[in-house]
C-alpha cells in the first residue's frame, strides 16, 4: 500500500464496472424478456437496447459526478395498429424503473378523452389529475394526435397540450411521457406542435410484422390459452394472414387475435354439434382447418366483414371519413 494518490472524495468511485451494473440493475432480465416474449420488432428491440445502454452509461457518469442533468426520456412510438406499442411501453416502464429513472414504474394509459374536458375550465384539472396519477411512472398517450384538432380553433385539446408540455419540461424527474400513434398522423401532429418534437428525444418506429412472424404470434397466443393448431389449420392460418393483409382495417397482431377468437368460437360450435360421447383434452384444445376456413376473409373481402371488430369503431369511422 504505497500508493496514496486517491485523494478524491471517497464517495465517488474511480472505476465503474458496466457489466456489473448491467447485472445488478436487472436490465438484462427485462431485455431478455423482451427478446423472448416479443416476436420480430428487431429495430424496436435494438433501439431499446441502445436506450438501456445510454441510461446505464449515464447512471455511471452520474455516480462519478460527470453528469448532472436528467436526460430527456420522453418518447414517441409510431407504427400501425397492433404492432405492440402498448406492450413495449409496459416493458419500457419496467426498464426505466429498474434503471432508477422513474420511482414506481407503473404505466398509465390514456387517450384524448382522459385529458381533454367537455367545457371551459374542465380540461386543466382533468389533465393535471392524470399527470399526477402518472408521476413516478410512465404516461402513455395512445393516439396522441387526437389531442390537436386544427379544424376547431376553440378545441380544448390545445390547453391539454400546453399543460402537458409544461409538466414534461418542469417535472422531468417525475414522469416519462410516451406518445403513440400511426406514423403519418404523428408526423402531422409534430409538425403542428413543434414544442412536442423538440421535447421528445427518442422516436421509435414500429414496423409491420411479416406473415411468418404473425403465424408465429398466432401459435404463441393459442399456446398461452392451451390451444393448438393442427397441421391443416396451420396452413390455413398462413393463408389467412396473407389474405387478411390485403384487406382493409388490417391491424397486425390484433387482427390475428380476433381471427383466433372467432376460430375458437367456431371450434366450440363444431364440437357442440358433432360430438357424440365424451371428448378428450386434445380434441378440446385443437383448432382444425374448417374452423379457420369458414372465415369470410377467404371469401375475399371485407365488404361482408363490416362488423369486423379489428378496430375500435371510432378509428374505423375516422378512417372512413378521410
Amino acid at each position: 500500500m504505497t500508493e496514496d494518490a486517491d485523494t478524491d472524495a471517497p464517495t465517488r468511485p474511480t472505476h465503474v464496472d458496466l457489466a456489473q451494473s448491467f447485472q445488478e440493475s436487472g436490465v438484462r432480465d427485462v431485455l431478455r424478456e423482451l427478446d423472448e416474449t416479443l416476436i420480430g420488432l428487431e429495430p424496436v428491440k435494438s433501439r431499446i437496447r441502445e436506450t438501456a445502454a445510454l441510461l446505464l452509461v449515464d447512471k455511471a457518469r452520474r455516480q462519478m459526478g460527470l453528469a448532472t442533468e436528467t436526460p430527456t426520456l420522453h418518447m414517441s412510438f409510431t407504427g400501425n395498429p397492433g404492432t405492440g406499442k402498448t406492450t413495449v411501453a409496459l416493458k419500457m416502464a419496467d426498464l426505466l424503473h429498474r434503471l432508477g429513472y422513474v420511482r414506481k414504474g407503473h404505466l398509465v394509459t390514456v387517450t384524448r378523452d382522459d385529458l381533454v374536458g367537455q367545457y371551459i375550465g374542465h380540461t386543466a384539472p382533468k389533465t393535471k389529475e392524470v399527470l399526477k396519477k402518472a408521476m413516478g411512472g410512465v404516461l402513455f398517450i395512445d393516439e396522441a394526435y387526437y389531442l390537436y384538432r386544427p379544424e376547431n380553433e376553440r378545441d380544448y385539446g390545445q390547453e391539454a397540450i400546453e399543460i402537458l408540455l409544461q409538466v414534461m419540461e418542469n417535472n422531468r424527474d417525475d414522469l416519462v411521457v410516451i406518445l403513440a400513434g400511426y406514423a403519418d398522423r404523428m408526423d402531422r401532429f409534430f409538425a403542428s406542435n413543434p414544442g412536442f418534437r423538440s421535447r421528445i428525444a427518442h422516436h421509435i418506429e414500429f414496423p409491420d410484422y411479416t406473415n411468418g412472424e404473425l403465424l408465429h404470434i398466432s401459435e404463441r397466443m393459442l399456446a398461452a390459452q392451451n390451444y393448438r393448431l393442427d397441421d391443416g389449420a396451420r396452413v390455413a392460418m398462413a393463408e389467412y394472414i396473407g389474405a387478411r393483409r390485403g384487406q382493409p382495417h388490417f391491424a397486425n397482431a390484433r387482427s390475428v387475435r380476433n381471427a383466433l377468437d372467432r376460430a375458437r368460437l367456431r371450434q366450440a360450435n363444431r364440437l357442440f354439434n358433432e360430438a357424440k360421447g365424451p371428448l378428450d383434452a386434445d380434441t378440446l384444445s385443437t383448432i382444425t382447418e374448417p374452423d379457420l376456413r369458414a372465415s369470410r376473409v377467404f371469401q375475399g373481402g371485407l365488404a361482408v366483414d363490416r362488423l369486423d371488430g379489428d378496430r375500435r369503431t371510432g378509428q374505423a369511422m375516422s378512417q372512413a371519413a378521410e
Binding site: 384539472p125 399526477k132 396519477k133 413516478g136 411512472g137 417535472n171 417525475d174
Partner: protein
Amino acid sequence: MKLRQGQFSFLPDLSDDDIRVQAQYAIDNGWAVSVEYSDDPHPRNTYWEMWGHPMFDNPDAAAVVFEVNECRKEHGGKYIRVIAFDASPGWESIRMSFIVNRPATEPGFRLVRQEGEGRVVRYTIESYATREPEGQRYA
C-alpha cells in the same frame, strides 16, 4: 410566534424533498393524502379549506409536492398543511398532519379573560390575525 401544530412543527421548515418523503410514507401505507390551507391558526380550527380532492390513487408523492406548490402560488401567504387520511375500518381518521407553508409573520395569540357570574373568570385565546376579516389576515 411560530405556530406549533401537527407533526414536525418543532423542526425547521420542511423542504420539498422532506415533504415528498413524508407523503410517500403515507401513500405506501395506503393513506389518502390531501392538501389544505387556512388563515385561521386557532388550534381548534379543525376543518381547513381543501385544496383539490384527497389523492386516493396517486402512487407517487411527487404529485403531492406538485399540489403543495400549486397551492403556494395561490395561497402562499397562508398556512398550508398536508394531511393523510386512513380509510381502513376501525380507524377512519387522520394519521398524519403537518404544516408545509406558513405566513411571513405570525403575530401569535392573545389571552382573553371573560368575567362570569360571581368572580368566575373564563380564559380563552384569540389569534391576533383573526381580528382582520378573512383574506386580509396576513400580508
